[in-house]
Symmetry: C2
Subunit: 210 residues, 2 copies
């Protein structure tokens, strides 16, 4: 297995163990057992349990934000950009729920250099997202505060999924993104003249438009 | 200090310590130091660290859901009920952010009886909230799934606050509730004919209406 694939393999297993046991209770020995790698083999990729937590968080946020930035270069319609922001987040984290848990539950566990580096990527991600929200709001002359609060509420919606996501009830990333875009843009009460919304149908209609 | 006030005092300090250090790293000895109470004095109120975590979560959710159910008996307008649901949650948890953190971050730490009892209260809270959302949706013939997803997104918005809440930027529970109601009901894009929204002004206008 090439070295970067091996690192991904380690991060995936480590995230599963951190998500299940909690960071404090998990040991590098647990990760050795789960991956079938020796401790010496593991320490080639990281120097401490804290560095491993850092690598998981850094990898997750970087993957998501890099895919987002790349795609946004080719998307110009504000609503299409919003949809991609949500879809890109859910597409990744519904497949990597352990990483989402480790990012959300252990956000304050890192210290010093490791914390700062992850905070930089999180900040970059938030700013890109806020820009997407702002470009929709700009059509309606909002205050700056609107974009901040709305973006934070949106992140609440899409991060909280680790608490409740059930593929049988909630569908995949695409369906959920459509529902979330619709609620976020148009709210629970449809605008006068808008056809009444009924879950996915409305989402699909919106997607067909963009 | 009467016994129930003393228990609240203990729970407040214990929540602060669990929120700061994480449940696993915190000890009953830390709580003894923070409260100025002896270990024997503390063990009059709970039998183990796990029971203490249980009491914090049970107390927080019960307080919130009981206040909600009581007030809903007197509120009949669906939008007014939604506003109160959000306001009631934020009013409590913005003042008790440590408890929110301990409820969100240590949700899976409890086991067996303790876990089940808290899960019952959380389920009751979710069902009341979903009923409130449903009563707004009913006007628009939605599928059952709409109410579930919308309610879960709403909880995401109002629980995620522990990650970002800043009183200077975001105002108090009342202002934030107004913003959140507005976004949840009407979305980011105002309906045709609706006056354009600009943060709190729109919120206040809506509150004046109800």
């Amino acid at each position: 297995m090439p070295s970067d694939q091996k690192l991904e393999y380690i991060l995936k297993h480590a995230a599963a163990i951190f998500a299940e046991k909690g960071y404090d209770r998990a040991s590098v020995r647990d990760i050795s057992r789960a991956t079938g790698m020796s401790l010496a083999g593991l320490y080639y990729y990281f120097r401490s349990k804290e560095e491993l937590l850092y690598l998981i968080q850094k990898h997750a946020f970087s993957t998501v934000v890099e895919a987002l930035e790349k795609e946004l270069q080719t998307l110009h319609d504000p609503v299409e950009r919003l949809y991609f922001l949500i879809y890109n987040h859910l597409r990744y984290f519904l497949q990597n729920m352990d990483q989402l848990k480790v990012c959300a539950l252990e956000v304050d566990t890192l210290n010093g250099y490791f914390y700062e580096k992850v905070a930089e990527v999180r900040k970059r991600y938030f700013e890109v997202a806020q820009g997407v929200v702002q470009s929709i709001l700009l059509l309606h002359q909002p205050s700056e505060r609107d974009a901040r609060l709305a973006t934070l509420q949106l992140f609440g919606s899409i991060n909280w999924v680790y608490m409740w996501y059930n593929p049988k009830k909630d569908g995949g990333a695409r369906e959920m993104s459509q529902s979330i875009v619709h609620l976020f843009l148009y709210g629970l009460i449809p605008a006068a003249g808008e056809p009444s919304r009924a879950g996915q149908r409305a989402g699909r209609r919106y997607i067909a438009k963009t």
